[in-house]
């Protein structure tokens, strides 16, 4: 997945912010560490950012910083700490998760609308649904992924992690790994999908808001 990058220099120019602001926001953890991508260019080391994400983030910070202190902002922007919850009806109406995934991975109380989905549950559903609708995984495997996420995702306590889906000789498996991680497999292993959970959470949040 090649994504468009923007250099720090261009970013400052484009958004009209200073180095001081950028580093302050980084220190206050308003901008995640993983977005700072170091690359060498012909003029030496430069820092790049994923363009769409950083522009959206800076926009939000600039809009919200008038009413909130930076520390309050950090809580708001932290990808995994959200007290949002949605009911099944809203989920379908807003087309966030497909009905197939909802029906398959919800508790009975959630299905008949008595219980809402917490943000963590939504996140797992959303991640699973994304792989499912991309045709990367089968319905059975989606159950396995939900289970993996439910069992192991909380252990990361909000630290960045990624989901790996691999196949070897027709056998499929999921793994969660702390990000950024460098993993290497034998030649027979094919990594079918790789999802950054922080990114998924970010996408989900922008859909919810």
């Amino acid at each position: 997945m090649e994504r468009e990058l923007i250099s720090k220099k261009d970013l400052l120019e484009l958004m009209g912010i200073s180095y001081g602001q950028l580093y302050r926001w980084k220190r206050k953890q308003l901008i995640p560490e993983e977005w700072f991508i170091r690359k060498s260019t012909f003029t030496g080391q430069e820092t790049f950012f994923p363009k769409d994400m950083i522009l959206a983030r800076i926009d939000r910070i600039m809009n919200m910083k008038e009413d909130l202190s930076l520390d309050e902002l950090a809580d708001k922007l932290s990808p995994f700490q959200t007290d949002l919850s949605l009911s099944k009806r809203e989920l379908i109406e807003r087309n966030i998760v497909s009905e197939v995934s909802i029906n398959r991975h919800s508790s009975p109380a959630q299905l008949n609308g008595e219980e809402a989905y917490s943000f963590a549950q939504l996140l797992f559903l959303y991640a699973t649904d994304q792989l499912l609708s991309d045709g990367e995984i089968s319905l059975e495997e989606s159950g396995l992924l939900m289970e993996t996420l439910r069992d192991h995702f909380p252990r990361y306590e909000g630290k960045p992690c990624e989901v790996l889906f691999m196949r070897k000789m027709g056998v499929s498996m999921f793994a969660l790994a702390a990000a950024p991680s460098a993993l290497h497999f034998d030649a027979g292993v094919k990594i079918v999908a790789r999802l950054q959970m922080a990114e998924i959470a970010e996408q989900l949040r922008s859909k919810l808001n």
Binding site: K9, S18, Y19, G20, Y23, R24, R27, T43, Q45
Partner: protein, 223 residues
């Protein structure tokens, strides 16, 4: 938290603790913590080693302090040597002596005098760096950065010529950058002042650039 009350801790002489959550921690002498420490204030006279992470609202140091993991604090002040194996985060830092950070150091307002070694990025809102010894930083960034060589270091150089007071850095970026006796590949900034003793590969500036006649600058680019 298991213990809502934060008890104070006083340690005198050579002693050790398993760490934990405290109010005020006072160390006089030599002390080792064998775990994470979370306290409202750590005052150390002597030497303290923390085999874990340190979180404190304030740290006051006279002597040496070693942290094996991350150090996060509101205020850090004192004289002596501070070694952090992980990342350092502090809002207000005023330190005389040696600061060594293996990871990144993210500071608010920082006044440092002595020698600094930082493996990763040293960033600060406002940084005043007085060089007394050989310093190196992977990357330096922030709002207002000022690096100067102290007058005393000329005297020190006479006594021990090894380890001249200078700074080595990969990239330096800031809105206002003022450098002396610094060697860097790239300097980027709004207003840039390159003082005596600097060797800079490339300077990119937005508004103003001043270069001392005793400095060497490769390329100068206005952006």
């Amino acid at each position: 938290m298991v213990n809502p009350k934060r008890p104070a801790l006083k340690m005198v002489g050579t002693s050790s603790s398993n760490g934990g959550v405290f109010g005020q921690v006072k160390v006089t002498g030599e002390c080792e913590f064998r775990g994470d420490v979370d306290c409202s204030k750590l005052a150390c006279t002597g030497s303290v080693v923390i085999r874990g992470a340190l979180t404190a609202a304030a740290v006051k140091l006279t002597g040496t302090c070693g942290v094996e993991s991350n150090l996060a604090s509101g205020e850090i002040g004192g004289t002596g040597e501070l070694k952090v194996k992980g990342n350092l985060r502090g809002e207000k830092v005023k330190l005389y002596g040696q600061l060594a950070v293996d990871g990144d150091a993210e500071l608010g307002e920082a006044a440092l005098r002595g020698a600094i070694v930082c493996g990763g990025l040293l960033s600060a809102e406002r940084l005043e760096l007085g060089l007394y010894g050989p310093s190196s930083v992977g990357e330096l960034g922030g709002g207002k950065l000022r690096v100067r060589r102290s007058r005393m270091s000329a005297l020190k150089n006479l006594v021990s010529p090894a380890g001249a007071a200078s700074l080595k850095a990969g990239t330096i970026e800031g809105d206002q950058v003022e450098l002396q006796y610094t060697e860097a590949d790239v300097v980027r900034g709004g207003d840039v002042v390159i003082g005596p003793g600097c060797t800079i590969g490339r300077v990119e500036y937005r508004r103003e650039l001043r270069v001392d006649s005793r400095a060497k600058v490769g390329q100068r680019v206005r952006i």
